[in-house]
Symmetry: C2
Amino acid sequence: MTISPRQIARAWERERPGTPTGSIEIVTPILRLAKLFADDRARVLRRAGIDSATLDLLSTLRRSGPPYRLGTRELAARTLVTAGAISQRVARAEERGLVVRTPGDGRRAVEVSLTAEGHTLVESSVDQVLGREAALVADLRPAEREALVTLLDTLTQGVRRRVTSS
Amino acid sequence: MTISPRQIARAWERERPGTPTGSIEIVTPILRLAKLFADDRARVLRRAGIDSATLDLLSTLRRSGPPYRLGTRELAARTLVTAGAISQRVARAEERGLVVRTPGDGRRAVEVSLTAEGHTLVESSVDQVLGREAALVADLRPAEREALVTLLDTLTQGVRRRVTSS
DNA sequence: CGTCCTACGTTTAGGGCTAAACATACAGGA
DNA sequence: TCCTGTATGTTTAGCCCTAAACGTAGGACG
């Protein structure tokens, strides 16, 4: 039913000879896989009473270790979203009692801390997400998995360098 | 500055021994690469006067070959978004004169066709996007690239099977 | 025929994100 | 001391998407 990246490249070559199709077989499957993972994660989390954006915030705080507190710039850098998005995520999470905003020490910083309630919610949802995703990638054999990790790492480094330098 | 997927996995193991971290080094880089590609594509397209969603629609029609016309279900299947999203994409594109909706033959079908204006816009933007993305993945050597394509394909098949069967 | 019922496209409500406009705190120089 | 520039967090406007509610058009069947 779905058209494969290779078929997409062939279709462009047929319809517009000369189209630079070289990247399609790399970029398209990555975009599609990301959507499959994201949609599936959203489904799992809906049952757990949380959404991906909030879990991303709480996980980052939880993973940072005691005292489970980070500044907003640090949060933005670690979650790859803009400062405005962090501001909104924190506002929503604070509304639900999952985090609290406290004035930090330096300059005009604001620090975000995990509450007991937020801590409980992370604990109960992280394993569900990671367990499910482990099942989704389960039929990659160890050697394949290792090779894929290495290649994705190489690609990420190259893309990041070229993106940020423009 | 940014934390690597491996560091994320290690942090979970340190903070919560027993957390199933096996999938992190696969899923996280895929989500991040997708975001890097999507954001970069959005920047390129903004200058070209179009957005990713509209280009996705127009490209699908363009690639399908003459008469550059497809039904809405077909469009939904090929672009991996919901029927509601297609309806909105088509409405926006029609407003701009890039496509037209025409009553189809069977049942109650609606067919979407590329206009001359839409055709022109695709032609001028596709090469910019694909050219840019070819540059982004350029430092993958041929052997690496081939291996990555194969692994992504294997992974996609597995994930798709497990996602749709639930 | 008339009545379900199913398939299908559209509309609506709500959520998330980005970019840009704002507001403000602090630092350093004149 | 005052002023200006810069860094930082928040708010707003505008997109896009999904899920679910809607409104129908055609069949299937009694």
